[in-house]
Point group: C2
Chain length 152, copies 2
């Protein structure tokens, strides 16, 4: 069974390399300093999210980052999968599907009410990956975003 280990401050550098690989695949560009600034608070225990290393904690083969939130309708904590990344060299072995079994169990045991993920509705492979893992949608809610800029 593939281990999931909560990432700690000591994991920052090896985790940042994996996140950089994930971002390169997604076409995102973030400097090493920006990336570490985004990761460090979560590793230090900020309540807004958590990152789990996949596989051996000293030589992880991927990670899953979740962001925690609060839903009035669900009556408590929920979470969104922000990233689920598996190294390209070990894909296709069912590791992602295994994580989508163990992660909900762990979050459920911690009292969370629901786990969400955002998927491009045209990406049928990713949709199938998540629907096989018991994710579903009712009303096809679309996510709109307003970027915020700090006041000048």
């Amino acid at each position: 069974m593939t281990a999931l280990t909560l990432a700690k401050p000591d994991d920052l550098e090896r985790l940042s390399r994996l996140v950089a690989d994930c971002q390169t695949e997604q076409g995102l560009t973030q400097s090493e300093a920006e990336r570490q600034a985004a990761l460090a608070p979560l590793l230090e225990g900020a309540p807004h999210g958590a990152i789990y290393l996949i596989g051996p904690a000293r030589a992880p083969i991927g990670y899953v980052a979740v962001s925690f939130g609060w839903s009035l309708a669900l009556g408590g904590l929920d979470a969104v999968i922000d990233d689920l990344y598996i190294r390209a060299s070990v894909r296709g072995r069912g590791i992602g599907a295994e994580i989508l079994g163990s992660l909900p169990r762990a979050l459920s045991a911690a009292g969370l009410k629901a786990l969400h993920v955002r998927v491009d509705p045209d990406d049928s492979a990713t949709l199938e990956f998540y629907t096989k893992a018991l994710f579903s949608h009712n009303a096809r809610p679309l996510l709109l975003t307003r970027r915020l800029r700090p006041p000048i």
Copy 2:
């Protein structure tokens, strides 16, 4: 200008009445005990969300509930509008649009990177309401959810 006031523990009962009205309009059923259990942690300062009363704090005409999260790509805190509710008797006066101006300013000043909202893509009136307030979407991400059940 319509006031936005952070709801505190003393506001629980009057806020719960507004949330009940909102849920009735949405066809949601939640008992008074469940509703208060979902609201109380946020009023007591839980870091996962906040609720702002709209209008006079002692006689609010609505509320907006936001859930906080963490985005690696955005490099920090973001928020999702969980509910934005204005009493039916005072709708159509531009109060919601005004709140969609003042709320992002307040969250931006607090260092948040983005504000999101989930909208049914077939609900063109709500889509227009948010796009006028500078919300946009790129890839039409669809939200998939897996409800979590506590272990038996």
